[in-house]
């Protein structure tokens, strides 16, 4: 990457403490906007960039004449998270040298945001995440998986029984035992090792991406504000990869209305916001917790509360509020996903065959309307098939500290004594119930709407990119954003922003690796420089280098 230095004109204001989406004040340390949920609250909106940048095709000569800092590279990954990492890892292993790759993103490491959201939602380093043994973003082959690694470590410590239990688990999951899942810390440690091996630090540029444009010489230009600076930097690249992640956390209209009216961020929290004080207070004084949502985060929070109950002996009640009951099993063909205690459980957020078996093929060959039905059937809000989680719900109901209600919140307000009054209408009778709770935790997930993503919404508008029926941008089966093709230049996407197309589990470690493989194979077919097709003995040789920790 070559950098041309120019005099730096002060063209943009100092970083603001207003959310770039909703224009309301936020604290600098907040990673998401508490008012609208944006995970990109400090972004410089594309419309604030210079006029010449607003053209459909930006002239490279104009960029150079602008005297703004500009650099050039061949492959540019935007996002800097796990999606970028999987793609860059694949590029490096397929032969591209580190000096031909640049990565631009907000975070210091590719797993920072993932780790932060895990921690907020109570998945600490020692907790197990919902992911397969072979879905390891540091190893494109998936072997040895985390399970084999863990078995090796346990055998080294002479913990035979635990090693045997995990071996039995990977042999017979998910039929006879619950599915193996790696500890979060194993994922981070393995990523650190691979980051060192492929020279991640040399490729990474930390900053906020503002906008993407085509150039008049068949490439792309990206405007970004480097970390702790306030002048845009332009990066020109031939091949682009966008893995920008979720634009925000999901704040329900009730939560937004409550916060706007009472300006209180303490009593009502979203599970992906820091809220450790909730558990500290429950551990000290006990209390009543109102919980919303029936996904994996709600399961984990329920488990955390149960742990606190058992450790401290405090009286803690959980009122679990869901909009509707869920008693019907989900049926697809001859197969059935059972509903238990109003939760739907499956090992991962999609059936395993959607990752690489026949359901992957079914979806790829399906018409757009049919895909919508398949997404609804295979996916939906589900939680892991962990027996301990099912047992907590059953035991909590028996012991009376866990109560389940169905309905919609009609009113929420603080009671003036640091507690919350919540009223909801019952699902069937519409009768009003009122509770006084100490906190409400909203576990309704993350938001991926395209319109909320300033960079993608701007791209769609600028280049009239087509959207699929879920509202996300349309990509081909190999994840190319064909609407952005520019002569020899190609742009690809990965992760949650590529949802609604030919592959369902885009938002998973394995999905990121799948997208990386398909897009790099697409680049190889297009004749992108420096790439070799990875297969057979060459693949085995690269794996051996991975095993030894040698650079690709």
């Amino acid at each position: 990457m070559t950098t041309k230095t120019f005099t730096l004109p002060a063209t943009l204001p100092e970083p603001t403490r207003l959310c770039s989406r909703c224009n309301q004040a936020i604290q600098p340390e907040q990673s998401s906007c508490p008012w609208c949920g944006s995970l990109l609250p400090h972004l410089v909106q594309p419309s604030n960039l210079p006029d010449w940048f607003q053209a459909g095709e930006v002239s490279v000569q104009t960029i150079r004449q602008s005297q703004m800092p500009t650099s050039e590279t061949t492959f540019l990954a935007l996002g800097g998270g796990l999606g970028s990492f999987a793609w860059v890892d694949y590029l490096r292993i397929c032969g591209v040298s580190a000096d031909q790759i640049a990565v631009m993103g907000q975070e210091a490491t590719p797993y920072d945001r993932f780790k932060r959201l895990c921690t907020y939602s109570q998945i600490f380093g020692d907790e197990r995440i919902r992911s397969d043994s072979g879905s390891r973003p540091d190893n494109l082959w998936g072997w040895p998986g985390y399970a084999v690694q863990e078995i090796g470590e346990l055998l080294g410590e002479q913990r035979w029984a635990e090693a045997g239990r995990i071996f039995w688990q990977i042999l017979s999951e998910p039929t006879l035992v619950e599915t193996y899942a790696p500890r979060a810390q194993m994922v981070f440690a393995a990523l650190e090792r691979e980051m060192g091996r492929i020279g991640w630090a040399r490729m990474r540029r930390r900053g906020e991406i503002c906008a993407v444009r085509q150039t008049d010489d068949g490439r792309y230009v990206v405007a970004a504000i480097p970390h702790r600076q306030n002048v845009p930097h332009f990066i020109i690249a031939s091949y682009l990869h966008l893995a920008l992640g979720y634009p925000g956390i999901h704040l329900t209209p009730e939560t937004q209305a409550y916060r706007q009216e009472y300006r209180d961020l303490r009593l009502v929290v979203q599970a992906y916001e820091p809220h450790e004080y909730v558990y500290e207070q429950l551990a000290q004084r006990g209390g009543i917790l109102l919980l919303r949502g029936r996904g994996i985060v709600a399961s984990r929070i329920l488990q955390r509360v149960d742990e606190i109950r058992q450790e401290t002996g405090q009286t803690i009640r959980v009122i679990h509020l869901l909009r509707t009951p869920l008693t019907e099993d989900t049926v697809y063909g001859q197969a059935r996903r059972p509903a238990r205690y109003h939760w739907q459980r499956q090992p991962f957020n999609w059936p395993k065959a959607a990752f690489g078996g026949d359901l992957r093929v079914v979806l790829e060959e399906a018409a757009p309307e049919e895909r919508q039905e398949l997404f609804a059937t295979w996916g939906g809000v589900t939680t892991s098939n962990r027996r301990d989680w099912l047992e907590i719900v059953a035991r909590g109901g028996r012991e009376g500290w866990y109560q389940l209600y169905f309905g919609t919140i009609t009113e929420m307000r603080p009671n003036g004594r640091k507690r919350l009054i919540a009223q909801f209408g019952d699902y069937v009778s519409n009768e009003q119930y009122r509770f006084v709770a100490d906190f409400m935790i909203d576990c309704t997930g993350l938001n991926s709407e395209l319109v909320l993503h300033p960079i993608l919404a701007d791209l769609r508008e600028h280049y009239e990119l087509s959207q699929n029926l879920t509202g996300q941008l349309e990509v081909t089966a190999n994840f190319e954003l064909t609407g952005l093709r520019n002569s020899r230049g190609q742009a690809y996407m990965a992760g949650t922003i590529a949802f609604g197309n030919a592959f369902a589990p885009v938002d998973s470690f394995m999905g990121l690796q799948y997208a990386a493989q398909r897009s790099v194979d697409g680049l190889i077919r297009a004749g992108a420089p420096g790439l070799r097709y990875l297969n057979g003995l060459a693949s085995l040789r690269q794996w051996w280098r991975w095993w030894q920790g040698a650079a690709p």
Binding site: G134, L140, W141, G142, W143, P144, I170, L171, S172, E173, P174, T175, L176, Y332, G333, Q334, A335, R336, R337, Q346, P347, P351, K352, A353, F355, G356, G357, D358, L359, R360, V361, A477, N478, Y514, Q517, R518, D521, G522, Y533, L534, N535, G536, L537, S539, L540, W543
Partner: protein, 147 residues
């Protein structure tokens, strides 16, 4: 890896030809019979393609449409026993299964079958994904890449 039917057929073919053949050469030498071990290997492959249709049918009744490694172990042992049953059936009829010598004992059959099966089972969970990085996303197909 969650196999498709085509993936099952291709994986079985690769494992039995690339790994099964050299192992069978060893057993042919050890038993002093250049024909029987190869005939048995051929039966395992051809019958196996039929078994794969049954296994794939069973998979479609499972929500995840997957096939845990334990199932492969158990069905592999079952396939071996049934193959021996067929050899035995021919003998009971006073005939011999084509290519299978009269000197084949159950012990010799089991040693050959179990060696080939365990080596190929282990390889399908280790060597194959390393040789073919697309294999696990293509339900076990290794012969072609992405279009």
């Amino acid at each position: 890896m969650t196999p498709t039917l085509q993936g099952r057929w291709e994986t079985r073919f690769f494992l039995l030809t690339v790994l099964g053949t050299p192992l069978t050469v060893f057993f042919a030498w050890a038993y002093g019979d250049g024909r029987t071990p190869f005939a048995l290997l051929g039966y395992v492959l051809v019958f196996g393609w039929g078994w794969d249709i049954l296994y794939y049918g069973l998979q479609t009744g499972r929500w995840n449409r997957d096939w845990p490694p334990l199932f492969t172990l158990l069905t592999g042992l079952g396939e071996g026993l049934i193959l021996w049953g067929v050899v035995y059936f021919f003998r009971k009829q006073g005939a011999a299964m084509p290519g299978v010598g009269a000197g084949l004992t159950f012990g010799r059959f089991a040693a050959h079958y179990l060696t080939v099966f365990m080596v190929t089972w282990a390889a399908s969970h280790s060597l194959l994904p390393l040789l073919f990085p697309r294999w696990r996303f293509r339900g076990g197909q290794w012969s072609s890449g992405w279009e």
